[in-house]
Symmetry: C2
Subunit: 190 residues, 2 copies
């Protein structure tokens, strides 16, 4: 394995381990073992477990298909629904495990790592900004109450989704996800 591909293997293994096990339950050994590389090679590519978690957050964001939100092929609120339907599939179809890596690292590590906290905040901010843009488009199109505070609503929807995934994992059912769709789309954004 070349140096670049070794880094890739380690980064991908770290992402999967953090998502499945959490930050503190994942040791460097778990990552290198899952990557199939010698223990010592981790520090040739990452200065710390924290640094590999920041890379994992980037990799997770790349799986979220934000282009569903920014495309202009469908009315704004249809795109928002499609976005959350896509996100819900990962949890609902995989037996209600793992949830969102951003929220998980936020809940577990934000108080203890300034770098991870800042990256989680950045993840939420970018995501809420995209959703806010979709809501503003919906207002312009006359599909959404013009009096709704788009920024606060977008921030709220992101928070609500994060909590919904925790509740779905605890409940091992789609009931919290159904309650999210019902309340967000039929009540908040009606």
């Amino acid at each position: 394995m070349g140096r670049a591909s070794k880094r890739e293997e380690i980064a991908q293994a770290a992402f999967q381990q953090f998502h499945a096990q959490g930050f503190n339950a994942t040791g460097i050994n778990d990552i290198t073992k899952a990557a199939g590389v010698p223990k010592g090679s981790f520090y040739n590519h990452f200065s710390s477990k924290e640094e590999s978690a920041l890379e994992a957050l980037n990799r997770y964001a790349a799986t979220m298909r934000f282009e569903v939100l920014t495309a202009t092929d469908r009315p704004p609120l249809d795109r928002l629904r499609a976005h959350f339907e896509f996100l819900s599939r990962d949890t609902v179809e995989n037996g209600f495990v793992r949830g969102c890596l951003v929220g998980n690292l936020g809940a577990e590590v934000a108080d203890h790592s300034e770098e991870i906290r800042a990256a989680v905040k950045d993840g939420f901010d970018r995501w809420a900004a995209l959703i806010g843009q979709v809501l503003a488009e919906a207002q312009e199109a006359g599909d959404l109450d013009g009096g709704l505070d788009v920024r606060a609503t977008a921030l709220f929807v992101v928070s609500a989704w994060e909590g919904t995934l925790i509740a779905a994992r605890a409940d091992k059912s789609a009931a919290p996800v159904d309650a999210f769709f019902r309340t967000v789309f039929d009540v908040v954004l009606r």
Copy 2:
């Protein structure tokens, strides 16, 4: 220290450590050190770290002052608001750390401990049932749209609160909490 008071010290220290540090970052040593008892005494009172986390969840629930919800001194939606104002104080006035122990253990441990998952689910269920009762009272009093699905809305509000605390800890600001109050009370429950 007598046997009963030793158990109390250990249980209380475990609760505080899990809330501040998380489950996997807390070792038995951290708990006994914080409790000021010998290392070995933990297992005289708890069979496992998991068992002490279940006890911590009970202790956390006892701090949530659910009686604010069930009292009949004020209109139902005022009690619901007072309940979340009380809960928000812990995060807002303490520098946006710790969040909710139920949600934290849900995010970190629900996939890996069946006992903790069941206890987190139970915590969410009881809480959502209490909130659902308040919403039903508000409907009966004519203060809330009778067409609102009370069960789904209560479940959603609990989820939304959990995500709100994660976002507030990441943002180190009350913006997510403000967005919660604004959307839940001025939009969902208007």
